[in-house]
Amino acid sequence: MTFTLYNDVLDAECYKVRLLAALLGLSPRIAAVEAHPGAGHRAADFLALNPAGTLPVAAAGDLVLSGAPAILVWMAAAHDVTDRWYPRDPGPMAQVQAWLETASALAATAGALRREALLEHPAPSGAAQSAEALLRRMELHLLLQGMGGRGWLVGTHPTVADIACFADVALAPDAGIALDPYPALHAWTLRLRALPDFLEMPGIAPLHALVDPLTGHR
């Protein structure tokens, strides 16, 4: 079953949805919304779909979902027959939920700083310190996960939690936040970028190292 994704190419929340769709082998129909400069997300037809006026929105028949966390969970639950991207065991499922909340906190800090750097939308004061605290927490967690032989935020397979947190981490340099101080976090972003069918976005370059220069293929 396919769905329509209302999408803004520069928006990290929309990117989360496009990325998981690519990794799951889904090809949603993309409906471009000109959030900038046209404020297309404030237009009447879009507000009729999502009165909150936020992106992304996914529409599958009568089901209309807004916000990356809900759409990620729905895509994994509905389309991943392996149940690995959204684990159903209570412990891991709750851990995924906790990281989805961290992802929202990242969006409100690192993500807001990026929107400020690119588009001049002011970020809340203290966003830089809060973003650093979040990145340090993720670094510590991923370091300890690695010491336990686990490469992902929850367990040994990537989940929707990794996708939700990845976008604002990988885009942090666009906001002037260097990732140099976080080796475990950096290694985790590389693992994610090396996944088959990984999809880049402006600000996240493809891993050219994996391309065969003679054929142009991975």
Binding site: L140, M147, A178, D180, P181, P183, A205, H208, A209
Partner: protein, 203 residues
């Protein structure tokens, strides 16, 4: 002068590239497929792009902007815009001396210098950055500033400080071989040290 500890070897696997600082000099540190490490000024000779954003193919570092490739000796080996051209030997990335010892990558920003002697058998734990200077990091460990900090209260820990621009310092932490649970405890100890050092900073 002693060389600067810029990274733990295990944080730069073959094919890896990262930005490091050695006494204020910004460098691209990378490791080719065959394991050799090089440290170059973080600036592509072509149009100045930071080479630390580049990518490694085999034993060459390629610049992200136009894909120029440089071999481990720094000479430009390939210019994709002119695939048939053999690049003149004058096009080269400038580098400085890089060496690996004890699981740590050391860079001498000028000249050559041997890494300090370290006790044998140390194992890499982690690198972390402190928002304070090297002197405060040493003090919080109960020591004077030095190239190698042997923590008096935690004899299994060794910290190699590397000052960064902006008054920060990165700490490369090594430990004696420890059981897994003790390694986890050592990680938490480094977090506590940082909290203490930075609390003093804001106090």
């Amino acid at each position: 002068m002693t060389p600067c500890p810029v990274a733990l070897s295990r944080d730069l696997p073959p094919g890896g590239v990262k930005r490091v600082f050695a006494r204020g000099r910004e460098l691209a540190l990378w490791r080719g497929a065959s394991g050799q490490v090089a440290a170059w000024d973080n600036r592509c000779p072509h149009r100045g792009m930071r080479l630390s954003h580049g990518f490694v193919r085999g034993d060459r570092l390629a610049c992200l902007y136009h894909g120029w490739q440089y071999g481990t000796d720094g000479t430009c080996a390939h210019i994709p815009a002119h695939p048939e051209l053999c690049p003149p030997a004058t096009i080269r990335a400038t580098g400085c001396d890089a060496a690996e010892a004890g699981g740590v990558i050391w860079v001498a920003p000028e000249g050559y210098a041997a890494p300090p002697e370290l006790p044998r058998g140390l194992v890499a734990l982690r690198s972390l950055t402190f928002r304070c200077d090297a002197a405060r990091l040493a003090r919080i460990c109960g020591l004077e500033a030095a190239p190698v900090l042997y923590l008096p209260d935690h004899p299994s820990l060794v910290i190699l400080p590397n000052p960064l621009p902006g008054g920060q310092v990165e700490a490369h932490v090594l430990t004696a071989p420890l059981p897994a649970a003790d390694r986890v405890a050592a990680v938490h100890l480094t977090e506590a040290l940082r909290r203490a050092a930075e609390a003093e900073e804001t106090a």
